[in-house]
Symmetry: C2
Subunit: 544 residues, 2 copies
C-alpha cells in the first residue's frame, strides 16, 4: 500500500525558487574578480539564473549534458550552477589547482560541452584549448568592457552571452535521481575520478548540513563560504544557504588573511567555512593587527584535520565557536561535524579541546562504521582504529565511467581513511588506510607521529611511512625536513616523541631530506616517498 | 544521465536506528497512564520497538496492514509506532475525542487488524467491540499487574504480548513511498477522511520541521509534546525529536495546567508544543501560583489561531519565545511557522505582536499561494484574502479510498482556509473558505468579526455566518451567546465593533442564542448554524 502524498521531486531549482519567494530581498554580496564589491539578492539571482538556463537551452544544451565551471565564488558562479541545473544539465566544477594535464583529462572524460571560466583562468584555458576536444564554447565570466582579446575562437563574455535572454523561461523538471553535479577527486594516484551528485542527494544533503546541530543555518546568518565552489561541492553552502534564506558573501579570488578579514568585518558575517590554512592566515592577520570580529559566531573547519591551536585561539581568544568537520567529495561532502552533545556538555578547557579535535558525529542520513581488513565491525571505544566506511543517500555508490565496485556487502563505501569512534559516536581520523603502518597486527597512525614530530622546534615538515620489517611486517620510518638553517639530531627528535606515543609506535629510524613531494592540492605524496625509500633497510631489521 | 549516489530509501525505522546509535543514552521520560514517572532511553526504546515488530510479525502482520492505536503520549505509544513501521505495516492513530460512531467508522474504513489501546480507552473499545469488524486483537498498553478483567475475548496486555520476543529481528525494508501512517481528519461535515503518510513524507517533513528557523530542534533540547500523537501526526515530534537526538518528555493522560507545569519544571523542558487551550490553562496555573519556568525557551502553538494575549504573556511575562504555527493533518502537518525574519528583526512591542499573530512562513518543501474562486493567484500584500493552496512532498494528494480530486492544475491542494500573505511571505488565516462571507464580490472574515465580538465584556461566545441578501449576495449575521447573567444589547456590541473593522464589514444584525453547536473536537458547527438560520431575513434585505 502506497502513501497518498504529493509527487514533489527534490530538484535543485526549487531551492532558488524558495529563496526568491521567501527571502527575495536577502543579499548576495561578492568581491568580483574585476575588483569592486557587487551586490544582488536572491530574487534577482533567480531571474539571472533563468536567463542562463534560457541561453543554455538556446545553445542546444539538453538534459544530461555536462557544463564545466572554472571559477571563484561569486554571484555569477552561483547563478550559473542554478542555470545549468535548471535546464536539466550537470554542473561540473573544475579545481584550477589541478595540474593542467589533469584538467584536460577531466574535461575530456566528462565530455563538457561548454566551459564557464573566470578571467583569472583564461590563460590556462587558452593554453589547454587544443586538448579540450569536446568544448564547443568558452564563456568568460565578465562583461564586454572587461573582456580581453582572446586567442580562443569560441570565446564570449558572459554578460553579452545572456544579454539577449529575458529570463522568460520555465525550469526543466527532471527525475530527482538525475545527475545534478560532478566533481572529480584529485587523489594521490592515478587519474581523477568523477563523483556524480543527483538532485535528490544535493537537496537531502543541504537539509542535513543545515540542521541545528550541524551548521545550524538560519535566515539570520550571513555566510561567507571561503571554501571554493570547485572544492567538494562547496560544502553544500551554495544550496544550504539559499534553502534557509541566509545572506551570502562570496570572496571572489582573494583569500588572504587581510581580504577575508575585511569581508567578514564589513559585511558582518556570522558563519564562515574554510580549510585550516585559510584560518591560520586569518588568525595571523588578526594577531598582527589586533583586529577583532565581533559579529562572527562560528567557523566551519574541514578539508584537513584542524590543528588544536586554531580551535583554541578561535574559541578562547576570539569567542568564535569552531565547528570541526570531516567530509569527502564522495560524501557531497559532509560526513561528520563536531558540535557538543549533552554527554560532553560539562567539559571545559583541555578536555573540551580533546573532543573538539575529533571530527565529530554524523547527521541523520550518514551512517558510519569502522572495520578491520576482513570487514568485521570494530568497537566504538575511542581507541580501536579501523577502516572508516559510510552509507547514506548523498554518498557515492560508484565513479563516473568506472566499473569498480566501491561498496561492501552492507552497502557502505570505504572512505580510505582510518579512524576511531568513541562511545558517543565521535569519530577521529587517524590516518589514510594506505598510509597506516601495520606492525605486528596492530596499526600505527602515521599522521599522529607526524603531527607530534612537527612540534619539534627544528622540524619544518615530517612524513612517516611504513618500511618492510622481517619480524613486524612494517615499522615506521620518520622522514624530516629540517627548518632552514637547522641541523637537528635524530636522537633529539625521538626524545621529543617519547612519552607522547606508545613505546611500540616509536619510529625505528629518522632520516633527513631537503623536501617532501606534494600533490597539486598540497597533500604529501606518500606513494612517491615509499618508492624513494623502497630499498631502505631499517637498522632494526636484523635485531629484535 | 543518473546521479551515482547510494540507494538509501527514506524509511522511518532509520530515525530510531540513528537515535539509538548516536544518542542511545538520551532519555525518554513519560508520565505513565498507570501513574508513576517512567524512564527509558533511545537505545532501550529501539530494542523494545524491535520486540513489537517481532510480535507483529509472529501474529502475521505484513507490509501494508493497518494497525490502530488509541493512546496517550507515552514511551509505549512511541515504540509501537516504530514497531509497526518496522514490520512494514501502517500506524493508524485514532483520536479518542471523536464520537464513538466515527471511531467505529474509521477502524472499519481502514480495516485495522490490531488495536493498541491505553487503559483509559478500554471501556470505549469494549462498548464498540461488536462494531469493529476487522479487529483480530486488542493489545492493552499495560502490564499483567495492571491488566483489568476485560469483556473482550481477544484482549491481551502489552507487556505479556511482547514478553516472548527477544528483539532479535531485522526491520523490514519497504519502498520509501510505501504508506507509513494514517490519520483521519475529523472535519465538520460528512465522514472522516483518511490521510496516508509515506515513509518518505514522514522523513522529509521531520527534516523540514526541525530546521533551525522552524522548531530548531537540537540534541540540547528536552521536548515535551503536549500535542497528542493521535493529533495530526504529533506535529512530527515523534520523528523530529529522535532524529535530532532531543530528549523527550511524554505527558501521558494528564494535560491540565498543574500537571504540565510539573513536568516542564521537573524535567527542565526547553521546548513544548500544544494547542492554545493547553497554554491558557498553563498560564492561568502559573499566574495563580506565581510559578516560573526558567528552562523553557520556546513553545510551539498551533491547531487553532493563537490569541494575542498568550503570545504577549509568554514572551513578555515569562521570556519564552512563542512559535506560532499553522498546519493540517493533510500537511503532515506543518505548513507555516512564525519565526522572525531579518525584515522584521527590528520590530518591538505591539508591532512585533502583529507579526507574531500571523501563522508565519513555510519551510523549504512547502509552497503556498492564495487564489480567487477562479483559481487566479492573488497578490502578497498582507490584505488581499484568497483560498490558501499548498504543494509539497509531505502534503496529501488524495484521501484513502476516496476518488475526489483534491489538487488544482498546478498540483496544489486547496486547504479550505482563506488567508492573506504579506510581501515577506507571512501568512495569516482569516477564515475557512466555506465560512467566509461574500459581500458584493469582496470577502469578509467571519473569524475576525468573532474575535473582536468576544472582546465585548458581556459576550461568552460569538459566531458569524453569511445570510443571503438580494443586493450584496451575502451579509454577515452576528450570533452571540451572552455571558451568564448578562443581557447585552445589540447596539452595544455593534458599537464595540465600530472602528475596529471596515464599515462594510459591520454585521447587518445581531441575534442572541443560549448556545452554539460544536463538533467533537470543539470547532463551531457553522453548517448547523446556517441551517438553523436558513429562513432568517436580514432587516437590511429590503433597504439599501
Amino acid at each position: 500500500m502506497q502513501g497518498l502524498m504529493q509527487d514533489w521531486p527534490l530538484l535543485v531549482h526549487k531551492i532558488l525558487d524558495h529563496a526568491a519567494i521567501q527571502h527575495g530581498g536577502r543579499e548576495v554580496v561578492s568581491r568580483s574578480v574585476e575588483g569592486p564589491i557587487h551586490r544582488t539578492d536572491y530574487s534577482e539571482l533567480r531571474h539571472r539564473s533563468l536567463r542562463v538556463a534560457q541561453a543554455l537551452d538556446r545553445f542546444g544544451i539538453v538534459g544530461g549534458d555536462r557544463v564545466a565551471t572554472l571559477a571563484w565564488n561569486t554571484w555569477r558562479h552561483l547563478e550559473i550552477w542554478y542555470g545549468i541545473n535548471g535546464v536539466g544539465a550537470i554542473y561540473h566544477t573544475i579545481n584550477p589547482r589541478l595540474f593542467p594535464e589533469q584538467i584536460a583529462y577531466i574535461v575530456n572524460h566528462a565530455a563538457d560541452r561548454i566551459l564557464f571560466t573566470d578571467l583569472t583562468f583564461l590563460p590556462l584555458v587558452e593554453a589547454l584549448a587544443g586538448h579540450l576536444k569536446t568544448l564547443e564554447l568558452v564563456v568568460v565570466m565578465t562583461d564586454a568592457e572587461h573582456m580581453p582579446d582572446s586567442k580562443l575562437a569560441n570565446a564570449v563574455s558572459y554578460e553579452e552571452w545572456i544579454a539577449g535572454c529575458d529570463g522568460n523561461f520555465v525550469w526543466k523538471d527532471v527525475d530527482e535521481n538525475a545527475a545534478s553535479g560532478m566533481c572529480y577527486t584529485s587523489g594521490t594516484t592515478g587519474n581523477p575520478k568523477g563523483v556524480v551528485y543527483s538532485h535528490r542527494s544535493n537537496i537531502l544533503h543541504a537539509m542535513m548540513a543545515a540542521a541545528t546541530d550541524m551548521m545550524g543555518l538560519s535566515f539570520n546568518d550571513t555566510v561567507l563560504p571561503v571554501v571554493p565552489m570547485f572544492h567538494a561541492n562547496c560544502w553544500s553552502l551554495a544550496f544550504a544557504a539559499p534553502m534557509n534564506g541566509a545572506r551570502l558573501v562570496m570572496p571572489g579570488a582573494k583569500m588572504d588573511g587581510a581580504s577575508i578579514w575585511e569581508l567578514l568585518d564589513s559585511e558582518k558575517v556570522t558563519l564562515s567555512a574554510a580549510v585550516p590554512t585559510v584560518w591560520m592566515m586569518l588568525l595571523q592577520h588578526m594577531e598582527e593587527t589586533g583586529k577583532k570580529l565581533p559579529h562572527l559566531t562560528r567557523v566551519v573547519i574541514g578539508g584537513a584535520a584542524c590543528p588544536r591551536v586554531i580551535i583554541d585561539k578561535f574559541e578562547n581568544d576570539y569567542d568564535v565557536q569552531v565547528i570541526h568537520a570531516w567530509g569527502m567529495t564522495e560524501l557531497s561532502p559532509l560526513g561528520t561535524v563536531c558540535t557538543i552533545k549533552p554527554e560532553y556538555g560539562g567539559l571545559r578547557g583541555e578536555a573540551l579541546l580533546d573532543i573538539k579535535e575529533t571530527q565529530g558525529h554524523p547527521p541523520f542520513g550518514v551512517e558510519i562504521k569502522i572495520t578491520n581488513d576482513a570487514g568485521k565491525s570494530l568497537p566504538w571505544d575511542g581507541k580501536t582504529f579501523g577502516r572508516l566506511k559510510v552509507r547514506g543517500p548523498a554518498i557515492a555508490r560508484a565513479y563516473y565511467r568506472d566499473d569498480s565496485d566501491i561498496l561492501d556487502d552492507e552497502g557502505y563505501m570505504d572512505t580510505g581513511d582510518v579512524a576511531t569512534i568513541d562511545q558517543n559516536g565521535y569519530m577521529r581520523i587517524t590516518d589514510r588506510s594506505k598510509d597506516v603502518i601495520k606492525s605486528g597486527g596492530e596499526w600505527i597512525s602515521s599522521i599522529d607521529l607526524e603531527n607530534i614530530a612537527v612540534g619539534h622546534p627544528h622540524v619544518a615538515e615530517a612524513a612517516v611511512i611504513g618500511i618492510a620489517h622481517p619480524k613486524w611486517d612494517e615499522r615506521p620510518l620518520l622522514i624530516v625536513v629540517p627548518k632552514k638553517g637547522e641541523t637537528p639530531e635524530a636522537e633529539s627528535i625521538l626524545a621529543h616523541l617519547e612519552g607522547k606515543v606508545a613505546k611500540w609506535w616509536m619510529p625505528d629510524a629518522v632520516v633527513f631530506v631537503e623536501e617532501i613531494p606534494h600533490t597539486a592540492t598540497g597533500k604529501i605524496q606518500k606513494m612517491a616517498l615509499r618508492e624513494k625509500f623502497s630499498d631502505y633497510v631499517l637498522p632494526t631489521a636484523d635485531q629484535d
